[in-house]
């Protein structure tokens, strides 16, 4: 495959020459507005206009279209970022969610005027509860991490209500997503780490050794970030429950078991999901996401408010959750992604299980093609099937050729593929964490495997060439030292002029 990304050399929007006619604002109230503003206390009105150029609509359209051509998404090609579940975003969902009936309704509209969207949220909540085996789900958290944080708060409040004020430890595997320990700490817990055993499972003996009076719970993904199903999950659940702790499920990896196994049946008490991963809503170049939080048993009295409910006649926002942790966000969460996720499940129905089956089939097909390559190893769980993702290590390749996981990633970019997640999970040296999802056709998986084969071969023959990659992308490798150095770090145009460019704009 020949790949050449566009390279436009677009100047920064703030460098555009000003003085063009801008978007038309009708004049009718302008003079009345000026007069009104002149009556305000002088301190409150703006004296100097912001340094934002006046540009024509044509130039704005062209500038950002050109920038888009220097970006890469799932519609461009595979984005096999592990634990990100970069699947295809169905276009019908985009179109329908942009209808005025969804995009132009106000969160404080009278409930009678928004029965359609409330019904969608209500049905989605039910479907998600069915798919997770939980009693109740809410779309309130704006993203997965917000759901984790909310879930950790629910656990804390529940334990305090039960008289376990001393339970301040959250067990988190070393292979967990970074959000797990970060969320636990935000909720006021101390993190206790447990390692993985050789088979790749979270070490049950280590869990038993740390579980005790102070254990509030454990945060787990299952399948794990290694792509492995925690085969002793029921024993883990028993261990944690036996010390009055709770199980938190990080749903980032649900795509590998969707419709086949449910966290609720595994013993989890609180679950979060990501609509932008498992349920096909777009990642938007970093967001918006759509978080979901589910609870079982007594924990369902602790979910954030409001919950969308149905009284047999109409749908409504229910604020009457007895022991709620309160609000994680204003309004009701990210509703537009929820509409898209609803449509995804609506369209697939029972084929939802096919999603997981093919995602798993794809993972193992690629794994088998990669494990024989020179310098490539599976560090954990050799001989086990993977689920949603597989983690391979280039540690041996690195030692034998000097070519790192990052070099391999950059060489993949040159071949027209987005690279997988690299250097994660932290317990695997020189890692590539690859998640294909169900969206990649077999020919594309073969092409990815072939690209890896070529790159590894090149590593042994001419490693220095790989250090020069990427060359086919909009820019070559970036100087990250310069980007991060305290003297040159430049996160805005204003600072860039003062710091990176030393005061000479445009240089």
């Amino acid at each position: 495959m020949v790949f050449r990304q566009a390279k436009w050399g677009e100047k920064i929007i703030l460098e555009y020459p000003s003085g063009k006619p801008t978007f038309v604002i009708d004049e009718e109230f302008i003079s009345m507005g000026r007069e009104y503003l002149s009556t305000l206390p002088r301190d409150t009105v703006r004296k100097e206009p912001p340094n934002i150029p006046d540009i024509s609509e044509v130039e704005v359209a062209r500038h950002f279209t050109r920038l888009s051509q220097m970006a890469y998404g799932v519609d461009t090609g595979p984005v096999p970022l592990g634990s990100c579940t970069m699947k295809y975003n169905p276009k019908v969902n985009e179109e329908v969610a942009s209808w005025e009936e969804f995009a132009t309704i106000h969160p404080y509209q009278d409930e009678e005027t928004v029965q359609g969207v409330l019904q969608i949220i209500y049905e989605l909540q039910k479907w998600l509860a069915d798919l997770t085996g939980m009693d109740v789900c809410t779309i309130h958290p704006p993203a997965g991490a917000a759901g984790e944080f909310a879930g950790a708060l629910m656990i804390k409040k529940y334990l305090i209500d039960k008289g376990f004020e001393n339970k301040d430890e959250m067990i988190v595997p070393e292979s967990a997503h970074g959000t797990n320990p970060a969320s636990a700490v935000m909720a006021g817990f101390r993190v206790v780490k447990v390692p993985a055993d050789e088979a790749g499972d979270t070490d049950l003996e280590a869990i038993k050794a740390v579980a005790g009076e102070r254990t509030a719970g454990i945060m787990l993904t299952n399948p794990s970030t290694l792509g492995l199903f925690e085969s002793r999950i029921l024993e883990i659940a028993d261990t944690i429950h036996s010390v009055n702790g709770l199980l938190y499920y990080d749903g980032a990896n649900l795509n590998g078991i969707l419709g086949i196994v449910r966290p609720g049946d595994m013993g989890f008490d609180v679950v979060h999901l990501n609509l932008h991963k498992t349920f096909s809503t777009p990642h938007g170049g970093g967001g918006p996401g759509g978080g979901v939080l589910c609870a079982k048993g007594a924990l369902k009295d602790y979910i954030p408010v409001p919950l969308v409910d149905y009284d047999g006649r109409k749908y409504y926002l229910n604020y009457d959750i007895p022991r709620t942790i309160g609000r994680i966000t204003w309004f009701y969460g990210n509703v537009i992604p929820a509409v898209k996720a609803f449509m995804y499940i609506l369209a697939l129905g029972p084929a939802i299980r096919e999603v997981a089956e093919i995602a798993v089939l794809n993972t193992n097909y690629l794994m088998k093609k990669l494990v024989g390559l020179p310098g490539v190893d599976l560090i954990y769980g050799k001989g086990r099937w993977r689920k949603h993702e597989v983690v391979i290590s280039f540690d041996r390749l690195h030692k034998e050729t000097g070519v790192s996981a990052e070099d391999v990633a950059k060489a993949l970019l040159d071949r027209g593929f987005h690279a997988p997640t690299i250097y994660f999970p932290l317990i695997v040296p020189e890692a590539h964490m690859i998640e294909l999802t169900e969206s990649e056709p077999i020919e594309m998986i073969d092409a990815i495997a072939e690209a890896y084969r070529e790159v590894v071969k090149k590593a042994y023959e001419a490693p220095e060439e790989l250090k020069k990659t990427p060359m086919n992308t909009a820019v070559g490798r970036l100087d990250l030292m310069l980007a991060n150095h305290p003297r040159t770090v430049s996160p805005t145009y204003k600072l860039m002029k003062e710091r990176l460019l030393g005061g000479e704009p445009g240089k």
Partner: protein, 460 residues
């Protein structure tokens, strides 16, 4: 069950792949799952079968028809978000698949366009708010506020009280309380909603050496301009506390930038900048600081920075200072945020680029003019507007009399939707509700508003 979104679901391809793996059933790949956990049938979700795209669209039309869109006139509802026009260019650019189907630009070289667009968002917002640094976005204005409060406590170690103006959006107050509950930060209010705004004296009465930060919104929940903002920020600084100011970005063409007034942390919700109402979400949270090493180290969220290529030839962009973030720092991260509001942030950048400094000033003036006109017309129609004494912009409280909740429903029957009723948040404001007017409301819309409210008003 073959499906076009699942290319390898065709029986022939499945068979080929299974043969390669030496298995005869995909379920063999799940043999390490305890068998008693495996569902025999997938849960009954959807409508029990695969639907065609047309069937899905038909069903969605049916559901959409149960939502009422207020078009003529557009809604006058306030309370954090208001109806603003979304330019077609913003929607067109946001539908570029290279942007919306991408994820976080972890591989900078192949994502330069996205990185530059987010860098431009950060730069444009920094100009608007009068600060040096703005991050790549938070979820929305409410979580940006909560993260700012948490950040203030990290910066001012050993201080664990934060003061929030009484005039802040009640749901934002709730969000802040939830976000700090687990770590024992005390949230207290200063000032009194019955005054419509807060004063420096109010803050002086409450502040002490244990206060890490002061949080205030401008305009506040009622739409009132906090005209003592500079003095309030000075009081906070005198006591060594950080000043956190939330400002409405669409008014910053005419209102003073909070950074210029001395705010240490600025926050806002980008919804007015061409993001639409979206039934409250998604939006994007704006989060900025002045350049300060201590503040920068505690900044939550992603940050895009400019740099050069290794060969020094090209300017480029990359994620910077990631050692603050969860994927590197884990339990010592400044926040757990990962997915943020990337697409909404770049939409805000499209919008601000389209308007330019001139358009931003004019839209502020256009909103100010409508505020003045609406207040005048409502007064002429015998309605107490504004119902609190202060200078208002974009939103203001009106006394509709009687039970505002009931009056809103009555007005709604005439196609005019105001709200929310203030009784929902403040027990002693039974007869008041908010009204919001923006560039999207015409003279006729405002006249209709006055006419309908004067007809349905419940009296005292």
């Amino acid at each position: 069950m073959p499906h076009p979104w699942i290319p390898n679901s065709s029986p022939e391809i499945k068979k080929r792949m299974m043969e390669f793996l030496g298995i005869s059933d995909i379920m063999e790949l799940l043999s390490d799952v305890p068998s008693n956990l495996i569902l025999h049938e997938p849960p009954a979700v959807g409508r029990g079968r695969v639907l065609s795209e047309y069937e899905v669209v038909r069903e969605m039309r049916r559901l959409a028809s149960k939502n009422r869109v207020f078009k003529d006139p557009p809604p006058f509802i306030g309370g954090g978000v208001c109806y603003h026009y979304v330019p077609s260019l913003v929607k067109a650019l946001a539908s570029r698949a290279e942007f919306y189907t991408a994820y976080t630009p972890y591989q900078a070289e192949i994502a330069q366009g996205l990185l530059q667009a987010i860098f431009e968002y950060q730069s444009l917002m920094a100009e608007l708010y009068g600060v040096d640094i703005v991050n790549a976005s938070m979820y929305n204005g409410s979580t940006a506020a909560a993260e700012a409060v948490r950040m203030a406590v990290r910066v001012k170690r050993r201080r664990n009280r934060v003061l929030v103006a009484a005039t802040v959006h009640p749901e934002v107050k709730e969000v802040i309380r939830t976000w700090v509950w687990g770590i024992g930060i005390k949230i207290e209010e200063f000032g009194d909603v019955s005054k419509g705004k807060v004063s420096a004296e109010n803050l002086k009465a409450k502040i002490g050496d244990d206060v890490a930060g002061v949080y205030i919104e401008n305009p506040n929940f009622f739409g009132a301009i906090e005209d003592e903002l500079r003095a309030i920020i000075e009081v906070a600084h005198e006591k060594g506390a950080l000043a956190i100011v939330n400002a409405d970005p669409i008014l910053l063409g005419v209102l003073e930038a909070p950074g210029k007034l001395g705010a240490d942390i600025v926050v806002g919700d980008a919804q007015p900048l061409g993001l639409g109402l979206n039934y409250g979400g998604p939006s994007a949270g704006i989060f900025g600081i002045k350049y300060d090493r201590v503040l920068l180290r505690q900044l939550p969220g992603r940050l895009i920075g400019a740099t050069r290529t290794e060969d020094g030839k090209d300017l480029g962009f990359a994620m910077v200072l990631q050692t603050r973030e969860q994927h590197i720092k884990r339990e010592r991260a400044t926040s757990n945020i990962t997915t943020n509001s990337g697409l909404m942030a770049v939409m805000a950048a499209f919008y601000v680029s389209l308007l330019g400094a001139t358009g931003l000033r004019k839209i502020g003036e256009a909103i100010a003019g409508r505020t003045a006109y609406a207040l005048r017309r409502l007064k002429e129609a015998g309605i107490e507007a504004p119902a609190l004494r202060a200078h208002f912009l974009k939103q203001f409280p009106v006394r509709v009399g009687g039970d505002a909740e009931a009056v809103i429903k009555e007005a709604l029957a005439h196609g005019v939707h105001v709200g929310p009723p203030l009784s929902r948040f403040f027990r002693n404001m039974r007869g008041e509700c908010l009204v919001c007017v923006t560039e999207a409301h015409t003279r006729e819309d405002i006249e209709r508003l006055a006419e309908v409210l004067s007809q349905v008003g419940g009296g005292e």
